[in-house]
């Protein structure tokens, strides 16, 4: 028994509320207020995990976010891999497991790897397993390395909340500097948001000595928090500011302890005060990674917050003054303490009952599964069950770095401090290099002043004042033994030396070659020692080596937080028809088409679907078909220059259109490629309706707006997207007119009054309807547009009246067959990103139009004039053969090699023709009608004959039948 819980004390724990959880299958007792780490220490669990690469036994290093070793997988309904035991609250019934250890941390069967460590330095695997292929070895190597395991049974605990928040001042860190800055800002009548990653505010004041304004620091913390809360300011405990993004957007990750997932905050403060403190560094000596070797400050935190004494025989090694308070407290708590100080003079007086070794360093530690003793550089051996180290303090300036703040090297602090000021951001406290409380408060005042807050008095330090007194103790090249720089990634001094030998001397290269500073802790304890070592190896100074780029997140953030509510259907919401429920009741099977949820077919599912679709397409040609075409674009173009506008937007001349008439045309992109096709309706002199493809409504609308604003001006044209305001019900087939006449719309449907490509205005049940005689089936068709909310009675009426005509409801799949029989194209299916209008047989405007239009110049390039362009064709197959595969290539043999001459774009069984039909884009296709070509699909070859695109009723008689 070495580490233990003291009988009294512990500011964070509630001894009246004991809890029990399991770690690696063993029961662990603790109290509410414990972290998993503090409870494990109280139960003297030394080995809490295995290292990434060598499977070395590892113990708890720290007491906060910097923890490199004590990663655990939390099981159960809210499983989390790689949680830090030092920040994860212990709770009743929790199941925790060590990482990278089989079956457990204490008896890991891959521990043998460590004996081969001298053969597997940095980059060993990449260099060794190159032949024949790294990917052959990768799965097994990956299985042996790595940290936590993802629980494949994980289920979402629900939607992660996302909160947008604005305030005058955001203060990051509720230690003495942050609290003082928050108070100064609040006293200046600014709205303050104060965030801290601990459950209780106070920062270092929670375990370091200090008196403020004449009383204990704890009382000042409590009074300051009460004052802020009373003033209506927002205080967020258990919340980490993990990133500063462009224009000072700050991301916060708020832990929830009631079963809810974490909450993501997006904060837009006017000003930011960064008071995130500092992180203690390790010291370099051989075997400095043994369990039982930990941060001196962490040991003090466990003692004073959790009443855990980390050892009975404790060696403390330091290069600065901060360890003296630790030595005094640990000795007072009853441990035998030896203090090894690198300095010969200028250090504080050794506390009572503490043996002091001046001018000495640790050479090595010994022990198997935990530290058993140390050897000093003069050969002195000391027994120890715990070694506490303080290698100095690294200011937590990650957020400042993310905000593009430049760092300045301070020799006096042996650390990088914030350099040039960043607009709207001030750094205070230990993060700015302050050590004593007086310095901390002075830096808070300076931060407040730089943000324009100077009104109130700052707190005074009235107790003992901390001192720095640091003498740098960086890892040295050529050191004996295995000295760990980065615990989490198993990077030693020798690995950094190897990187330098192989010329990976840039700090960014060093990181990637050795993995120094990667993984979940992002090198919070290791980066500075690593780059200082590289400086020593290459004869440069630390600032000459520099730091790697600071990037968010500071600590891991659940991906679910970034997703928030944007999951499942909300990730990409589908557009829905006004009559969806009616269609469902009518037996429709729905599918998504270009963002719209539409009936694919009515009746028939799975294997029967094909038959149902064929049946719909067949019957549509017999009598009359009803189809919901509400998704068709209905974008109105209104204004004095509307005609000029549509002329410019369309490839075809549209201004010649008479009011009440429609015309089919293409819209091109500026590179000449066909962007959309559709029917343009001219309602009156200055009013058009662009009926674009269903899936292109948003894109066409955006394009119209762009040209309107950029070329014509806001006053010349007005664009209104009325697509969702109206439902469009299509009636198609030889009996379409007869059916409509039985319904009656108060207008003449005679062909003379309403010919093909004309519109008429009528009414139904008191509502205006617009009837457009356009056809996508090749049969006589009427598109009836009515207010979306009044469409249901009309649809019911059409269905009821249709019974007398054996009317059939058709879905989109049958419509696709009908239009393909006619050779009508779908943009993006029968065209690709190179198709020009003349490839589709529309050469008239290109050769004749004299006025300007979008894409015009691109139709006359060398490329656009090539004789071997792919052109739209129909394809037929020999009698009795099955339909071609969509996507199959037309091929030719040229010089013994197969060469693609195009591909099949649409292919169906045609029930009207009783044989397969297909459309395709084939080189020189327009001039090759009647020619038989070779078709290749998935290695199989067959033939097809090129034909005109229109396979059914080429004369167009059925339009007026």
């Amino acid at each position: 028994m070495t580490a233990s819980r003291l009988a009294t004390g512990g500011s964070a724990i509630d001894r009246s509320r004991p809890i029990r959880f399991s770690f690696d299958g063993t029961s662990v007792d603790g109290f509410v207020g414990d972290t998993i780490a503090s409870a494990l220490l109280a139960n003297d669990v030394a080995v809490v995990g295995r290292s990434f690469k060598y499977h070395r036994p590892r113990g708890i290093w720290g007491a906060g976010v910097e923890e490199p070793n004590a990663l655990i997988d939390i099981g159960g309904p809210r499983a989390t891999p790689n949680a830090r035991a030092t920040t994860e609250p212990a709770r009743e019934g929790l199941v925790a497991k060590s990482v990278n250890a089989t079956p457990n941390a204490l008896a890991d069967r891959n521990a043998f790897l460590d004996r081969f460590s001298r053969f597997i330095p940095a980059a060993f695997y990449y260099k060794t397993f190159m032949w024949p292929d790294w990917h052959m070895f990768e799965p097994r190597i990956r299985a042996m390395a790595g940290l936590g395991k993802v629980d494949t049974d994980w289920t979402s605990p629900g939607t992660s909340d996302q909160v947008n928040h604005h305030c005058d001042v955001l203060v990051v860190g509720a230690g003495p500097a942050g609290l003082a800055a928050a108070k100064l800002a609040a006293d200046a009548d600014l709205s303050v948001t104060l965030v801290d990653d601990q459950r209780k505010p106070g920062g270092s004041l929670g375990h370091r000595a200090g008196d403020i304004d004449g009383g204990p620091a704890a009382e000042w913390v409590e009074a300051t928090i009460a004052g802020l809360a009373g003033g209506g300011h927002l205080i967020l405990p258990s919340t980490t500011a993990f990133g500063i993004y462009d224009h000072n957007l700050v991301g916060l990750n708020q832990r929830q302890f009631d079963g809810r997932p974490d909450t993501l905050w997006r904060v837009r403060p006017r000003r930011i005060v960064l008071a995130a403190g500092a992180i203690e560094r390790p010291l370099p000596f051989a075997n400095n990674d043994l369990p039982g070797i930990m941060s001196a400050d962490a040991a003090l935190a466990y003692l004073r917050r959790h009443a855990v004494l980390v050892g009975k025989r404790v060696v403390i090694a330091t290069n600065n003054d901060s360890a003296y308070e630790v030595a005094e407290a640990i000795a007072e708590a009853g441990a035998d303490v030896a203090l090894v100080d690198i300095r010969r003079d200028g250090m504080p007086v050794a506390p009572a009952k503490v043996r002091q070794f001046k001018g000495r360093t640790l050479a090595s530690a010994a022990g198997r599964l935990r530290v058993e003793g140390v050897t000093l550089d003069d050969g002195t051996r000391l027994d120890a069950d715990c070694v506490l180290v303080s290698g100095g303090w690294t200011p937590t300036i990650h957020l400042f770095g993310q905000a593009r703040g430049k760092l300045a090297w301070s020799e006096a602090r042996a650390a990088f401090l914030p350099g040039n000021p960043v607009d709207g951001i001030a750094v205070a406290g230990a993060a700015a290099g302050a050590v004593s409380l007086s310095e901390v408060f002075a830096s808070a005042e300076k931060a407040a002043a730089s943000l324009g807050q100077t009104k109130a008095a700052i707190p005074r330090s009235t107790g003992p004042e901390a001192t720095a007194g640091i003498v740098a103790a960086w890892p040295m090249p050529g050191s004996k033994g295995r000295i760990w720089i980065d615990y989490q990634n198993d990077v030693t001094v020798k690995d950094v030396e190897l990187a330098a030998r192989e010329n990976f001397v840039s700090v960014e290269h060093l990181k990637r070659y050795t993995t120094l500073g990667m993984a979940t802790d992002q090198g919070k304890t290791s980066n500075l020692p690593g780059l200082a070592l590289m400086a020593g190896i290459t004869g440069r100074t630390v600032p000459e080596v520099g730091t790697t780029t600071y990037r968010p997140p500071f600590t891991p953030v659940p991906l679910a937080s970034f997703a928030g509510a944007r999951v499942g259907e909300l990730m990409a919401p589908v557009r829905r028809l006004p009559l969806e429920t009616v269609h469902r009741a009518g037996g429709a099977v729905f599918q998504e088409y270009g963002g719209w949820l539409r009936p694919a077919h009515y009746g028939g599912r799975n294997a029967d679907a094909v038959r149902a679709i064929q049946d719909e397409a067949f019957r549509a040609r017999q009598s009359v078909a009803l189809f919901d075409g509400s998704t068709l674009g209905k974008i109105e173009v209104i204004g004095p220059k509307a005609a000029e506008f549509v002329d410019f937007l369309y490839y075809n001349t549209m201004s010649a259109l008479r009011p009440g008439r429609c015309r089919y045309g293409f819209m091109l992109s500026e590179n000449g490629v066909v962007f959309d096709d559709g029917v343009l309706v001219r309602l009156d002199e200055h009013r058009f309706v662009v009926s674009c493809s269903s899936s292109h409504v948003a894109a066409v609308h955006a394009r119209l707006e762009e040209w309107r604003q950029d070329r014509f001006g806001r006053g010349a044209v007005y664009i209104h997207n009325a697509t969702s305001e109206m439902a469009t019900l299509t009636v198609s087939g030889p009996n379409a007119r007869t059916l409509l006449e039985t319904v009656g719309f108060g207008l003449s449907l005679a062909d003379a009054a309403l010919p093909h490509m004309a519109i008429g205005h009528g009414s139904y049940a008191g509502d205006e309807v617009r009837i457009a005689r356009v056809s996508f089936t090749g049969d006589r068709s009427y598109e009836i547009s009515i207010r979306a909310d009044r469409a249901e009675p009309l649809w019911a009426h059409l269905r009821q009246a249709g019974q007398a005509f054996d009317a059939v409801l058709i879905g989109l799949e049958a419509l696709m067959i009908l239009r393909a029989e006619k050779g009508f194209i779908v943009i993006g299916k029968d065209t690709d990103g190179t198709t020009l209008p003349h490839d589709l047989g529309s050469d008239g405007p290109r050769t004749k139009r004299q006025t300007e239009y979008v894409g015009r110049r691109s139709l006359f390039t060398e490329e656009a004039s090539r004789p071997d362009r792919m052109q739209l064709v129909g394809l037929t197959v020999p009698q009795g053969e099955a339909a071609l595969a969509t996507g199959a290539h037309g091929v030719e043999r040229r010089g013994g090699k197969l060469h693609s001459i195009g591909f099949v774009t649409s292919s169906y069984e045609s029930p009207a023709l009783g044989q397969p039909i297909a459309l395709g884009l084939i080189e020189r296709g327009a001039a090759r009608h009647g020619e038989t070509i070779e078709i290749q699909h998935l290695g199989k070859h067959r033939t097809a004959t090129i034909a005109a695109p229109c396979a059914y009723d080429p004369a167009g008689d059925r339009l007026n039948a």
């Binding site: 500026e670 950029d710 110049r857 390039t861």
Partner: protein
């Protein structure tokens, strides 16, 4: 996340905006525009490091505008609605 000032709606998150191209990339009209000139208009972008004049559209209100910004520091220098220069 950058804040872009829509001249009509004020500062909004950059995710609400789409890029619309270089400002001042005037369209040459005509079927006989020299092909190099047309290619410049279609494809060539200056992609400056530093100050840039760009067209952006605020998707929420649908309005296009000219924004001057620094592509390196992400500082927004100005934002103005498109003029009515084409309407004459």
């Amino acid at each position: 996340m950058q804040l872009f000032p829509c001249p009509f709606c004020g500062p909004r998150d950059e995710t609400e905006f789409h890029y619309g191209g270089d400002a001042g990339n005037a369209r040459p009209d005509g079927g006989d525009v020299p092909i190099d000139r047309w290619a410049n208009y279609l494809y060539l972008r200056s992609n400056p490091k530093g100050a840039a004049r760009e067209i952006w559209v605020h998707m929420n209100c649908g309005e296009f505008f000219v924004m001057e910004r620094d592509t390196l520091t992400h500082e927004v220098l100005s934002s103005t609605a498109l003029g009515e220069e084409h309407t004459a």
